[in-house]
Each structure stands twice: as C-alpha cells, then as structure tokens.
Assembly symmetry: C2
Homo-oligomer: 338 residues x 2
C-alpha cells in the first residue's frame, strides 16, 4: 500500500500520483479522479517517515516536560494541553520527552536523531544544559521559561518577579506587615530554577520597598508539604499574617495547615500568589492570584517555534506576561496577632 501500488493500479507513474496529491503540478482532472478513486478504495495514506526523510522535516515538535516521576503542576498541565492543542491546529505532532530524570536518553534521542523539527522546553534553569545541547545541535527551540541570559533564546514566560512583588504590595496595602514567601521545592531552587530565583528577588525587593518583615521558605510541590511549611513558618514567626506564593500544588496544604493552627482565611490570614486560573478558581476558598494564562503561553510558544523552524535566522522573540491579580477569597485586611 505505497505510492507505487497506487500508481500501478491507476495506470500512471509514481510522480503523477505524488503531484495529484500535493497539487504542486497540474494533473488532468480525469487522471486525478482515477487516482483518487484508487486511493479511496485502498485507504492509502502517504508514509510520513518517507516524506520526512525526503523533505528533511518531520512535522513534529518535541515537548520536554519535567521528569515523569514528579507530578506535573496544574499550570504545567495547562501548558502541555495548550501546546498539544496548538500544535494539532498547525498539523504538527508532539513528541513527548521527559528530561532531568535518571534517563536523559530520551532527550538525547529526540534531539540527536533529528526526530523533531523543533523543541519546546519546560522548567528551564537559569543555566540549562538542555539549552546548550539544543543550540549545539542547531535545533530551533522555544522555552516556556527562560535562562539567565534570555536575550539569546526565544521564550514565553511569566513575570514572577513583578507578580510576587505585586502580591506583596497588595498584602501590604491591606495592612499586612509580616509576610512569608513560599517557594517551590528546595531542589528546584538549588538547581537554579528561574521562577524560584526571580520570584524571590521580587519578594525581597517589595519587602524592602515597603519596609516589612519578610520570611522565605521552600516547599515541595504537594499538599502535605504545604501543611508542614505553614507550621514551620508560624513557629518561626507566630505573628505572621500573610503568604505570597508561587507554589500552586502546596496551596491546599497551606489552607489546611492554617486551619489546624486555628486561623481562618482570609479573616486571620491572607494568601496571594501566582497560579493557573483553573486552579485558582477551583480552590476553596478561591485564591486571590495573578491568573497565569497557560493557554496563551502555550499557544504563543508553538507559534514562536513555528516561526523559528520556518526561518531560524530571525531575531529571537519573547513574551513576558504579568497578568493582573484577580481578587478572590483569600486576601483581606490584616488582623495583627500576638
């Protein structure tokens, strides 16, 4: 069931079948219909591998996600969904690969073997080996996130620094004076995870600007860790009245931890953060947060990548989003304790 078979049954040459299909040269209407009839009858579809070999492109993009062992956050899930969706709309397939686990073979396979025309990279470090690999391989790529030298690549990202600063200002406006920053996991921060560092910088800056008392804590990406994190923070400063966070997954745990400490949200304690909109709305109480538009970011990442694939020599482009903070149910006037 290859193109030769179709050609034989239609009584034409293989090239004619190819042209009938692609329309790149004129084929007489009668011939075209005869060929089409055979194709329909046999249910023929051109072999994508052969086409890829000849054309030098695979019509496939790689999506590099965090190691599968770690649970994707809600926001990351949103990125994946929108990338798959946007790629599908552009008739591109998505090859999924996780990197950073013990087996980086997957990443090497995808990048080295020219299996994809380009790559979208998630969870980028300030210094990221994968970026170096991709650059050396000459493979177009776009980051969801950016390295420490972002002008050298194309990316979409969330302006965590600004957003966390805004959260702090919002909390300060409500009268909070003792605010904690809850980061993502210590491992991520230690390996130079951009959002951790940038958000922390924004936090420190805003705390200084408002002359507040600030605390920081890393916290693993799960509810249980959120509980212990809150316990730890309240122990460290019993007078704490607010948290600003980028750790989506730990938020339900924070709610719980506060509840166990006898504190109500937002009566006794406020939380503001950066989170995917879906999650923020579905938490209870709904989270006051800068709503990250995961679809928009994913879609833009794909568009940027398509452009780079089409013309790798164009200057790098980027998109930094700083969505407004949606006031929901977790921030209120400070009620000092202690």
């Amino acid at each position: 069931m290859n193109i030769g078979e179709i050609a034989r049954r239609s009584g034409v040459s293989r090239s004619t079948v190819s042209y009938a299909l692609s329309g790149k040269r004129r084929v007489s209407e009668v011939t075209r219909q005869r060929i089409q009839a055979v194709i329909d009858e046999l249910g023929y579809r051109p072999n994508a591998t052969a086409r890829a070999l000849k054309e030098g492109r695979t019509r496939t993009i790689g999506l590099i996600i965090p190691p599968a062992s770690r649970r994707l956050t809600d926001m990351q899930l949103g990125f994946v969904a929108s990338v798959v969706d946007a790629a599908g709309r552009a008739d591109l397939d998505v090859l999924l690969s996780s990197s950073g686990g013990e087996h980086d073979r997957s990443f090497e396979r995808v990048v080295g073997g020219k299996r994809v025309d380009g790559v979208i990279l998630m969870e980028i470090r300030l210094e990221d080996d994968r970026v170096t690999s991709l650059r050396r391989a000459g493979l177009p790529f776009v980051g969801i996130g950016r390295t420490g030298t972002p002008e050298e690549m194309s990316w979409v990202d969330i302006d965590y620094e600004t957003l966390i600063a805004k959260c702090v200002h919002h909390l300060a406006d409500l009268g909070h004076r003792r605010i904690a920053f809850v980061d993502r996991s210590a491992e991520l921060a230690a390996t130079g995870y951009g959002p951790s560092h940038r958000a922390h910088a924004g936090f420190v800056r805003a705390i200084a600007e408002r002359e507040l008392k600030g605390f920081s804590s890393c916290c693993a990406d799960d509810a249980t860790s959120g509980v212990t994190c809150v316990e730890r923070l309240l122990e460290e400063d019993p007078g704490l009245t607010a948290i600003a966070t980028i750790n989506e997954a730990a938020i339900p745990g924070m709610y719980r931890g506060l509840g166990q400490a006898g504190l109500t949200v937002p009566g006794d304690f406020s939380i503001a953060g950066v989170a995917g909109r879906y999650l923020a709305e579905n938490l209870h109480p709904p989270l006051t947060a800068a709503d990250v538009p995961a679809d928009e970011l994913g879609t833009n990442a794909v568009e940027l990548l398509i452009q780079r694939i089409a013309d790798p020599s164009t200057p790098h482009r980027s998109l930094l989003v700083a969505p407004p903070i949606s006031l929901r149910g977790t921030t209120g006037p400070a009620r000092p304790r202690d």
Copy 2:
C-alpha cells in the same frame, strides 16, 4: 553530518560505518576505533527518520489522550506519566495525540501515516471508532480501558464494577442504607464510556444484594460540579448518608457541598470511591478508596504493546486490577438522619 561523511573521513565505506555502529557484522578493532573517533569528533548521530524508513519501524508509540480541552484527571495524569516513563525505559519515544476534540486530524495523522509502531488508547468507549480504525489499519494497540467486546483486544483496566460494589458493601457494613453513586460526566456516560457503565452496573447489583436504597447522578469532572451534585442529591433524598464514586475530580467539591449542608465527613456522611492513590492520600480528609495503581497499569500497557509490536499474532492479553479498598478518613458508621 551523515553516515557518508563519517565514512569518507574514516576512509571506509558507508556499510562499514553502519556495521561498526550496529555490531551486526565483525569490523576490525582498528577500523572501529578510527570510525568511533570521527563520530565522537563530529558528534554524529544516525538520522532516526532514515533508519525508520529502512527498518519499517519508528521506535515510537502513540499515546491517545482525551481532548486537550478537558482537564486530565489525576488518574489520567498518572497514566500518562507512567507510560512516558516506561516507554523511555524501553528506548521508545511517545507521540502524544488527543482525540475526540473537534480536530481529529491528529489521530488520523498518527495512525494513517505509520508514524508509530503501536498505540496506547485512553478513555475507551464500549463502542469505540478509534479501535475500529486501528484494527483496520492493522496497527498494534493496547487500551487503558476496554470496549464492550474486550476479548478482541489487549488492554489493562480497572475493575470498576467490582470496586464500586465493594464500596457499597463496605458502606452497607457500616450501616448505611441510602447510598448514592456519583458518576463521571453525563456526556461521557452518554457516549458509552466503559467505567461509567460498569461502575453503575456494580452499584445497582450491590444495592440490590444488600436491599438498600440507591441513587445515581452524573457529575462533571470538576469541583464546582461536585458541590451542585451533592446539593441535588441531598435535595432528592435528605436522608442520604453515603456516596460511592468514581469521579475523582469532583470529590473536593463533594466535601465542600456536604460542609455547606452542615454535614461532617465521616461523622454525618461517608464517601468511598475509586481514585488514584496520590489523590486519595492528598485529599483532606484522605479518601477511603480503592487505590488505582496508575504506574502499574501504565507500565503494563507499554509492556503489552511492546509484545504486540514484536509479534502481532500472539493472542490478546489483558490485566484487570481490583485493588483493595484502603480505609482512610471518609467512611464511618452510619448516623441516620431525618
């Protein structure tokens, strides 16, 4: 940077380079080292597309997920993660495709173009067009889930029928007499989603066996729907004291709905269900549930698929899991009301 270039620089023929790399024929040690040196210097990696064309296999499997527009449930996320992981261990890449959305082109592309050696199918209906397509295409596939005629395919699945029946029995043992079944969304059930039907059958059977009063309700896969679903059920039968469910995503909403109705869990009301272990443990209170071992299922699906790819003529195999119910914090003795 193709094999010809390596051959030229090493002063040997292309075939010798190929044999040096694959080891399928002996190559003298000196020649091998010379070739290897050139390869290392140039960082050469064989082109996966060309290899795939010649070998007739792509070393890639397709993973068909529910439409991207819908949020993956925690359990589904677990499946995806474990499939990607298991495939990676077997040096297979994973091509992600969502089906069921408005643009089914993705599925057709993947299946028709021979882009993959086999497919893993998620969210299977009792009668599923995709199964028909795959069968017609002669492409090996394994279901995470099964159709109404499961003996005709290879699959792994959760024994929802048994598990929901067990949940009912467990609740009945605790003295509950008025129990509701909360299904997944009405659309899924209407389109013949297997777990919906099988779980419902198990529910009806167990209710009959124990001569209880049973109610059923579909509920969309999100927290908000969980709230309204509980409201509706309590309105329909104010004397309801327990829920058995397969709707993971709605559970936080059910908690909330019960809370708003002034009912405590498990004091006034019990919930038991089927859920991914990760979710069950991380809910608050932790859910009494049959813990679905998503990793095990995903891993087994990949293994089954690898076998089918290696020899499509072997008889179909399957794995039906019915994990024990882990007693956690959501079931307790019935306290009849009304």
